[in-house]
Symmetry: C2
Subunit: 235 residues, 2 copies
Amino acid sequence: MCADSVKNRQSSRSRVSQKKVVQKDGSGWLDVSVPFVNGMHGWPGNPPTVITMHLGTAKRDVCNVSAVNLNSHAGTHMDSPFHFLAEGKTMDDLPWDAVIGRARVVEIRDKKAIRPAELKKLKLQRGERVLFKTQNSMKSWRKAEFDRDFVYIAQEAARFLVDCGIRTVGVDYFSVGGFYKDGIETHHILLGSEVWIIEGLNLSAAKPGEYDLICLPIRLAKGDGAPARCLIRPV
Amino acid sequence: MCADSVKNRQSSRSRVSQKKVVQKDGSGWLDVSVPFVNGMHGWPGNPPTVITMHLGTAKRDVCNVSAVNLNSHAGTHMDSPFHFLAEGKTMDDLPWDAVIGRARVVEIRDKKAIRPAELKKLKLQRGERVLFKTQNSMKSWRKAEFDRDFVYIAQEAARFLVDCGIRTVGVDYFSVGGFYKDGIETHHILLGSEVWIIEGLNLSAAKPGEYDLICLPIRLAKGDGAPARCLIRPV
């Protein structure tokens, strides 16, 4: 709530370092979401993240309220099949077991792409939720600008994941597909088989291994995707 | 992700009925969040919720991406102490045990306010997370416009909750305090004692009783509040 009689002035918010992106508290939950910050980078061409002070105690309003402008694929977020498939399921259809349950954090060494060669060693199981930790977590989030050279899932690897019956895939930058390559293909392959996708994770503080996962997107009606909070806890 | 070469046209999104706000799936989790819908009502004077199609397969773009404009206190959301206290904790300080754990759904019969008289019968325990189900859940969300006569927590009741050592309070409309009365006072009393606040729940499908609660707000850096997803499951 906040009084509607208070004056409405805009003011820009100070930047928060993207470096401090993973925090721990006593509960064991590790926050693998990136913070939403005014001016943070996002997929080129999509509406930017603009967060401003709408009401502020600093300017003698009775309370603080922020205006938050972003897009359905900003920061840590999920994709629904409808993101790329005109007749695909929307965020309304997200099954909770895709985002609440065991998950495996897997480290990928390839500096360019996630490929079948590395995936074959993982002995992936049907129904697994897999979060891929690549050099993106250590490198891409720290850049001042959007990193076009992020590590992505090659389309052959996407097909491999579908063949394995993977339930949910998480990646540590804005897209499962690459900027220059396999952007459309990898999305179509995964979403076409209703693999649920979490994008924009920061896994720099997560060691490879088994975790409990909770990832809850905001309830964006009929969403093609939605900003989400994502926590993991070692098993 | 989505290609940045695609044309950028705006188009309004169809309205989604606010009536279908609580869904169940086989997992037992009950979604007590309200959907974010273009044009949905919110606190008067705060930036409105505007959700538009940025890219759309319906207009031959390669994918669907939504522009999402709202404020930190839109729909189902949390308040941090910083919402009303200039030196208060922000959403960065949210402890997970305030939003993950047991919670009690309590039904309030008073049609105007939550008052100490009803609270005294509940035998509230230190550390409890309490979600108040009032007539708001059945009435206020169904209105075409913002309901100024929603049931709120009277300031005496807020003091009672603080004295009981309540950890987290959830309410079923936009504010713990009233529109005409106790708006500022109730916030100051609860936030001043670091009671964490969840607002904008729809509890129409939740019977009074014990539940597991997960409520995750998006990670709005230094937030005075943040949109959140909130699930409960009967114990």
